[in-house]
Amino acid sequence: MGHAWDRTLGIVAGLALTGCYAGSQIDVETDGASTAPTASGESGDTTDGEGSGGTDDPDVPMAECDGMVFDPGPNLARRLTVLEYGNTVEALLGVDVRVEATEQLPAELRADGFTNTSSGLITTLGHIEAYDALASLAIERMPDLSGFVGEYTSCQEFTSACESEFVERLGLRAFRRPLTEDERDALVSVFAAAQDEDETFADGAGLAMQAMMQSPPFLYRLEDETSGDGARELGGYALATRLSYLIWAGPPDAALLDAAGSDTLRTDAEIEAQVDRMLASAEARDASEAFVDDWLNLARLNGLPRDPERFPDWTTAIADAMVDETHSYFGALVWDDVRPLMDLFIAQEAWLTPELATHYGLEPQGEGIQRYDMSNQPERGGLLTQGSMLTIGGNESSMVARGLFVFESVLCQHPVSPPPGVDTTPPEIEPGSSQRDISEVRTTDATCAGCHLQFEPISWGLGRYLADGKFADEDHLGNALREDGFLRLPGSAQEYPYNNAGEMMTLLAEADATRECMASKTTQFAIGRALTGNDDCTMEQLQTRFADSDGTWRDLVVAIALSPGFRSVRVEE
């Protein structure tokens, strides 16, 4: 797990629940958390749009975590990421401002391995200025503003009825829940700024839309964090928002909002059905790429340099092609072939441009990215033999960097620091040694081995791949390269030998730790924070469900969506 310390252990201890959803111990919001009715006469609340429901629903089976305290973990208003913002604007208005959003919005911080870590999603002046400009741009780009407005109102006169109808109907989609009276009135007030200038109703609606796009319920994923006690099941609209941003990196569509509003997004069957519907869309495939980018830190390859003397044919176009290789590989296995996620480590195929194929020493076939059958190319195939992975660690085939990547990102482990007082001066290395030889000095040195044995032997299987991704017999110093080694799995000192990268990756693919880590990483991405010990209850259920499944992306997303932590929010006293 990450090194996040949960400061709220006191709260968790106070919950003292014996199971994740143990009947009446969970406070389920019964109706409209707070406030005045909306103009439509239906109840709603400020942040969640909770639906009604009780805890004794026989269609909501809840497993228990034996002796473990259930805690959904700390909650934080999550600002939309740049990707999510662009997707949300397009979903709402049918206008693409992604290029401008990427240019104008500050880049996200990468923290705890992901760029959507909620604690890092702060808002700066740069964001505010960009939101202002982007909202204006989006309205300018609408090809038929009046026509669009007409989809949300039956009239286009400067009357309270027309203005309110427009604001409420579009507002439901923009805010991902019904508006409160105050929100409606605030947005309606903007119409006057157009009317006063002798502009049209549609122009007024445009101003109201700009206001919506700068309002907190649009820019943030807000949830009711105070109603109830302890851990509370999310209301329909809040759950719909979590599902849509997990699966689409975008807002709920009309069907999902309808399910939330009609309280048909509560049982496992209902949620699973929506997940399957959502996964069938193109947006889901595109959004999964965001996870891959973060999990594998593919942004590292943007403009990645290599030593021109050692790697004279390296170009940044090769680096770009390596990113495309990994994207296409993931897409094909996960979406086209619907294979288990563990096959990512062993599938004997590659997705290459002609240039990248040539770079790898393969005969190019056709234009653009093509599928290459690697059945007869044992040195290729599998995620870790792709250039996007092999370029980790600079110009050397860094055993440390590659090993740490697998250790942390594939096995979810963290190296242990040397104890105080230990001399960590690196051992003497004979000049001209191969990276493997240098690695073995570290893994046999009494001082270094305790730490380095944890992760370096993993990368020995990649020892014949150079820092530009090519497969070679010798390094630049003339040393013969090796690819044999052994793997230690978490929690065990047993060494599993392998002869080459393929065998090493097979060991990884078959290990429970790898599957569990994939689930952990994806969950972290889903909830926007590193997992802590307080997530053990949720993760136990999730891991069990995933392990009992076919292990596909769909199975993992369903396991996350049905997990207690995903469906609940911690209530603040």
Partner: protein, 476 residues
């Protein structure tokens, strides 16, 4: 974006390549402090972080060692030795990161972008200006020059009460310029400009109450979420002030040239480090320092900080190092190490520190950083920008200087997080100055002494049940 009136006197920005840019500076207009009912100087607090640290044994040499440049501003500085951050140790985390993330807040972090508590600049900011700072003053400004990218805590050193970053640090001079002065002049010839501004006002007027509601007692948000919304609201207010022309008056200076240094991902290609000349590095440092100092002088910023290289920074520096007109040293890190990549970086001199050796390279790197810190402090110490009480900004502000470790050898975490260099400006006479003192105390106690005894605040940093041990050595 609205621009403002002429400043009567002149100072200079140094652009990339050493070209001086003349610009007039702020005239008589100066916001008075809201602190304590009418003091003559605004309350200001800045965190200056420099990467890699200064080993404790070298600190004992005083100004005869690598701390020499600090002697130039010692009248408005207190060097504090013997400050330990051992509570910052996070098992399994790297010592550079540990030390960096407790600099200025002294509480172990809870995630890579989640500090354990607020930094001292933000504590003072929130206490001094609970209802927000005067119009035109930005909530917080963070800037600097750094290259190491992994983990934001290496280069981000200003944290809110909830542990979230107080701002995102700016690393490009052109971006810092835009952040301070805005972008683009209004088209006064556009007949629609006034209409556009009226409509923008109407939009803002509909949005602001929503944020205010989210922070109110009627909100269903928890405290952490409300804090997030509160920060958003602060930034909306600043945006509003910029759009509608409220706030202090400064003339727009010429825009600096685009930086030639690598930034973002290119600045940290897989941790193997970058090659950089001292000329390029210091040119950008000084341009950033000039811009930041100008923002302070213009009373656009009162809180935040600067980063002079990230924790665990990896650069291979070359070039002649001149100090007070004399050639003091010739940097050539890669040649000294005899290798490239990460092994050729200046970082390795810290790994190789030996109390019984000369450590020449390390000394010179520290000396260089001290020189650049002094450059910035001197900008703030310019009497032409004195506050209404006749004292310089440096004298009146709390400028806190610190780093990541007291030893870079990574084989003794207690030693590594002990004796971490600290220095403070007088904060308007609230702290002692003109000396080097030995605090022999936890950083948490040093910070709490400043907050409670120096500023008289009813606020405690750190665990609620931990008593504060006052560090008399830093008090007048």
């Amino acid at each position: 974006m609205r621009y403002r009136k002429v400043m009567p006197r002149r100072t200079f920005l140094r652009g990339a390549g050493g070209v001086a840019i003349g610009l007039p500076f702020l005239g008589a207009m100066r916001s008075t402090s809201v602190w304590g009912g009418g003091e003559e100087a605004p309350i200001r607090a800045f965190n200056l972080f420099f990467g890699l640290g200064c080993p404790t044994p070298l600190q004992t040499e005083g100004f005869a060692g690598p701390l020499e440049p600090l002697s130039e501003v010692i009248d408005n500085l207190l060097v504090v030795r013997g400050v330990d951050q051992v509570r910052g140790d996070i098992p399994g985390a790297n010592a550079h990161y540990d030390g960096a993330t407790v600099s200025f807040n002294a509480i172990p972090s809870e995630g890579e972008v989640q500090a354990g508590g607020p930094s001292i600049d933000q504590v003072i900011r929130r206490q001094a200006y609970p209802d927000g700072q005067p119009p035109g003053v930005t909530p917080t400004l963070l800037a600097g020059t750094w290259f190491r990218r992994s983990r934001p805590g290496r280069y981000l050193h200003s944290w809110n009460e909830d542990g979230s970053p107080a701002d995102l640090p700016i690393e490009r001079p052109t971006d810092l310029f835009e952040r301070i002065f805005g972008s683009g002049l209004p088209d006064t010839n556009d007949p629609n400009e006034e209409k556009r501004l009226r409509q923008k006002r109407s939009i803002l007027d509909s949005v602001l109450p929503q944020y205010q509601h989210m922070m109110s007692d009627a909100s269903n948000l928890g405290q952490a979420s409300r804090s997030r919304i509160a920060d958003h609201l602060d930034n909306i207010r600043e945006h509003e002030q910029r759009v509608f022309g409220e706030g202090p008056e400064c003339e727009l200076p010429p825009q600096p040239q685009p930086s030639t240094l690598p930034h973002e991902g290119a600045a940290d290609p897989d941790g193997s480090g970058i090659d950089i000349t001292i000329e390029d590095l210091t040119s950008e440092w000084r341009l950033m320092s000039d811009l930041y100092a100008l923002a302070v002088q213009c009373d656009i910023v009162r809180f935040g900080g600067m980063t002079y290289l990230a924790a665990g920074e990896r650069i291979r520096l070359t070039g002649d190092y001149l100090y007070q007109g004399e050639l003091l040293h010739q940097f050539n890190d890669q040649a000294i190490h005899g290798t490239g990549g990460s092994g050729g970086c200046s970082h390795e001199f810290w790994h190789q520190f030996n109390e019984n050796a000369e450590n020449l390279q390390l000394r010179m790197h520290v000396h260089l950083k001290m020189r650049e810190l002094v450059y910035f402090m001197k900008r703030l110490d310019d009497p032409t920008y004195a506050d209404s009480n006749g004292e310089t900004i440096l004298h009146n502000a709390l400028v806190s200087i610190s780093t990541e470790s007291g030893d870079g050898r990574h084989n003794d975490i207690v030693r590594e997080l002990s004796g971490i260099f600290h220095a403070f400006s007088p904060a308007g006479g609230r702290l002692r100055s003109g000396e080097i003192v030995d605090a022999n105390a936890e950083a948490l106690d040093v910070y709490n002494t400043i907050v409670q005894q120096g500023f008289g605040l009813d606020y405690k940093m750190g665990p609620a049940d931990r008593p504060v041990n006052i560090v008399d050595a830093i008090l007048p």
